[in-house]
Symmetry: C2
Subunit: 203 residues, 2 copies
């Protein structure tokens, strides 16, 4: 009996290619393909899937939240996260959301089917390098508002813009930015944004 697999990735070409790749395996059957995270849990239930392969970066509902939704809706379905960026914070949060595996998109293609099988068997699959980084990295030191302000700052607006979009006083915004810079070690607002992004603290 073959493994029933749901695939979600926002890039249609990649999604289809992954489906083709895994469809070649005799013991894997791709039962659904989704372009965003919103419908994943429903699709898993509808097709009684065994494994859901989810991209982290997706419009609408992101992969981590989708993973949590899948766990709630169908606890027997394993979740394998696939992502472009090996951000330590992503791995940690994916695991907390109940994911069983986490692979980055530059692992060799041959290993993917094996990862799906392992996850299906109840094993955990984690890139060892990434796991090590994740341990040394530590949790996000940023508070909710600091993250919010950093995200608002990430498209390059002025303090006034950020204040408007976050409904805060300009002075407060500068305080949060200052705190975020101190915690990230960035010497500039932009650097703080980059560091926070690299660590997967923004999502």
């Amino acid at each position: 009996m073959s493994i029933r697999l749901v695939i979600a990735d926002d890039q249609a070409l990649v999604r289809g290619a992954l489906a083709a790749l895994l469809g070649l395996e005799p013991d894997i059957e791709v039962v659904a393909e989704l372009g965003d995270g919103t419908g994943v849990a429903a699709a898993v239930v509808e097709h009684s899937a065994d494994v859901a392969m989810l991209d982290v970066e997706m419009p609408g509902l992101d992969g981590i939240s989708a993973a949590a939704a899948v766990r709630r809706a169908a606890p027997s379905c394993r979740v394998l996260m696939v992502t472009t960026f090996g951000r330590p914070g992503y791995l940690k949060r994916a695991m907390q959301a109940g994911a069983a595996g986490f692979v980055v998109k530059d692992t060799p293609a041959r290993q993917l089917a094996e990862a799906v099988r392992r996850v299906h068997q109840g094993l955990r699959v984690v890139d060892p390098v990434l796991a090590a980084e994740s341990l040394t990295a530590g949790d996000s030191p940023l508070t909710e508002r600091e993250v919010e302000v950093l995200k608002a700052a990430s498209d390059g607006g002025t303090v006034a813009d950020i204040a408007k979009s976050a409904m805060l006083s300009e002075g407060t915004v500068r305080n949060y930015l200052s705190a975020a810079m101190a915690k990230t070690g960035g010497r500039t607002r932009a650097e703080a944004v980059r560091i926070a992004e690299d660590n997967g603290w923004l999502l």
Copy 2:
């Protein structure tokens, strides 16, 4: 006789999956897979490939430069660019570099094989939406140095950092940044960087 295809993409998983997808087609044969742009031209020659499918964003030699190298080394080989981002500037420069086709990664997977065939027949393949954007967008208004400074600014360093990395005076750096902001319409350094990136003016 089948179409001999070379694939270059920095993400191994995507690369392998694309190879699997296209390998299913009876008239296409994947003869080489590369992880960066440096070896593409050589591989095309060695395997006497008919079509090269190249990602734009790659470490080492980028896809556009690789396309130009392929054109020089093997003029009979058609180049099909595949990219994550539909930046107008990418399309324009890819065409100038001699690419025959340009598709973004969220086109449906079924259309990819068809794109390869069209390109092989000597036809051009271009996303119509993107083509329209590319026409209205106009060329980059930025000068070489402005681009250089913007790139140096894109990781969030201070003026002093940029000046050091570009071997320029701090005042000069501020002048270039100011000019770049005026030309892009950005009100901040960071905003100028974002706008330039979105238009494909940085590469």
